[in-house]
């Protein structure tokens, strides 16, 4: 065989070896790509399956929240009036008045009263919601339902009749002290006195009271009266 033929065979063999090497390497790389794509497809399928009910659930949540917003906005505007409602919301969340209420587009043009600069949030809430509080006298949306000067009647009627309507009929509070006109002997047990109080300088040496079963008789009499009153 001539030398030129041998060289040609060697060249062809080299070309084939190069083809084999690079093509096999490419095949291996493509197999790795295929494996990774399989994993990716599995993950994407999982994402699709898990996110399938999201639309329905989120729509339901948004529907409920929309109803809640409408309810609360409507109630606030109904009870406090649009102007005060905007002022109250702006007082609690500064700047929120600019956005207005969703169901009340005219609230965007409503000028919010600057009520939050004077009163605290809690007072504002009471004043706006109830207008029963004395502070509501300063309400920009009309007079208060309760007179701030004589607004304690509702609280006073919770107490017994005589104490609130005719306090002058109540006995005066005892004067206490070592030189008080009526001297009280300290009690050893609650509700039981060693002796009845007497005016200073009138009583002599106190006599110990008679006892019955270890209980002072005057205390027993008091308990019996109390028991009869209960009947």
């Amino acid at each position: 065989m001539p030398a030129a033929g041998v060289v040609m065979i060697v060249a062809v063999v080299l070309i084939v070896l190069a083809l084999v090497y690079y093509l096999v390497s490419t095949i291996v790389a493509l197999q790795r790509i295929t494996d990774a794509l399989d994993k990716a497809i599995t993950g994407v399928v999982g994402i699709i399956e898990k996110s399938a009910p999201v639309d329905e659930v989120v729509t339901s949540i948004n529907t409920n929240l929309d109803a809640g917003v409408s309810l609360l906005e409507g109630l606030l505007v109904k009870k406090a009036g649009l102007s005060d409602a905007v002022g109250l919301v702006d007082g609690l969340y500064p700047g929120a008045a600019a956005e207005g209420f969703r169901d009340f587009p005219e609230s965007k043009e409503t000028k919010a009263p600057r009520i939050s600069e004077v009163y605290t949030k809690g007072t504002l809430t009471l004043a706006r919601l109830g207008r029963e509080a004395p502070i509501a006298a300063a309400s920009p949306n009309g007079p208060a339902l309760r007179n701030p000067a004589y607004g304690s009647h509702a609280a006073r009627i919770l107490y017994p009749e005589v104490r609130q309507t005719r306090p002058q009929s109540m006995p005066r509070s005892p004067i206490i002290g070592t030189d008080s006109p009526v001297q009280y002997v300290p009690s050893e047990s609650p509700g039981v006195r060693k002796r009845m109080p007497v005016a200073a300088g009138v009583a002599g040496t106190p006599e110990p009271e008679a006892t019955e079963g270890g209980v002072v008789k005057s205390g027993l009499a008091f308990l019996r009266r109390l028991k009869n009153d209960d009947r």
Partner: protein, 86 residues
Amino acid sequence: MTLEWIGDAILILVVLPVVVYLLRGVLNAANGIVPSVQQIATAATAGSKDLDATALLLTTQDQVQKTIETAADYGGSLDVILDDAN
């Protein structure tokens, strides 16, 4: 004979380098895709795991519904108790 030598030279000096160059380019491109695809697979797996909490949306849905119902009841009571502004 001279033509044979010329053919050998062309095979060794032209054809072989061209074949090697082309195949090497294909191999490099394939190897460059591998890390990208692996990253995509990792991201898809992580995204799928992140969506495991999607089932909690059902709890959220239930809680929101109960909350709105409670607020509606409370609002109804307030509507009765409080006077209207106008």
